[in-house]
């Protein structure tokens, strides 16, 4: 079993994805944590531009990060599957090429927030995505995430 995601690994994702020109955003609770949301999570979710070129660059970057992708698996990532779960690397990672509740990557990118060089989805998009996914776990966590969005807009966004 992979270990919990840590800051050094996040830096590595940021640096390798930047080097390979991968267009992505942290999303989900991992994205909210980057924005300051105090909660626990096991998942690291990244929302990627679904162009074939970006998916191919993502495969190269993932291999450099230590994900052991067979050629068959790499082809599945590159061919435009909307959701890919990776548990074959240094940490568990979900690749999302079509996020629930978000019209397009470009629209999410236009609203994104930069935290220490980490590109993160806007909290409005994270909330819209969780509302659309409608999972039991999201129903439980959404009121606190919405309260955090309101807090963040008042205190942090202006900083």
């Amino acid at each position: 079993m992979a270990r919990a995601f840590d800051y050094a690994q996040a830096e590595e994702v940021r640096d390798v994805f930047a080097k390979e020109g991968v267009r992505y955003l942290f999303i989900g609770k991992s994205g909210a944590v980057l924005l300051g949301f105090p909660d626990t999570t096991q998942d690291v979710d990244v929302f990627l531009d679904s162009s074939e070129e970006n998916a191919v660059q993502a495969v190269d970057a993932l291999r450099q990060l230590g994900f052991e992708l067979s050629d068959e698996e790499a082809a599945e990532v590159a061919c435009g599957k909307h959701f890919v779960q990776l548990k074959n690397g240094p940490f568990d990672l979900d690749l999302i090429f079509a996020a629930d509740g978000i019209e397009s990557f470009d629209q999410a990118w236009a609203r994104h927030v930069d935290v220490e060089g980490f590109p993160v989805c806007h909290l409005d998009d994270m909330i819209a995505s969780k509302q659309a996914a409608n999972r039991a776990t999201d129903k439980e966590s959404l009121p606190r995430l919405i309260a955090f969005r309101d807090y963040w807009l008042r205190h942090c966004k202006k900083a």
Partner: protein, 74 residues
């Protein structure tokens, strides 16, 4: 989606938690936030790819224990 509205007392408590988190550096927030425990079925394959997000949600609903919370209800 139906969400329970928090009470004023709950909101004040959350705001105190948000204030405390805002004082911590990002590296420390990471240490407190990312955890790892085994999740049955979900963790039993090293790679899964779904044609659409809808397919993934349907798979979660069908295959995962409901208590994991990945389906619409527990």
């Amino acid at each position: 989606m139906d969400c329970e509205l928090p009470s004023k007392k709950q909101l004040r408590e959350w705001e105190r938690e948000f204030d405390a988190a805002a004082r911590r550096p990002l590296r420390q927030r990471f240490r407190y936030s990312f955890i790892r425990t085994y999740k049955p079925v979900l963790d039993d394959a090293h790679f899964r790819a779904f044609e659409t997000t809808r397919d993934y949600r349907a798979w979660c609903e069908r295959e995962l224990p409901s208590w994991l919370g990945y389906g619409a209800s527990v």
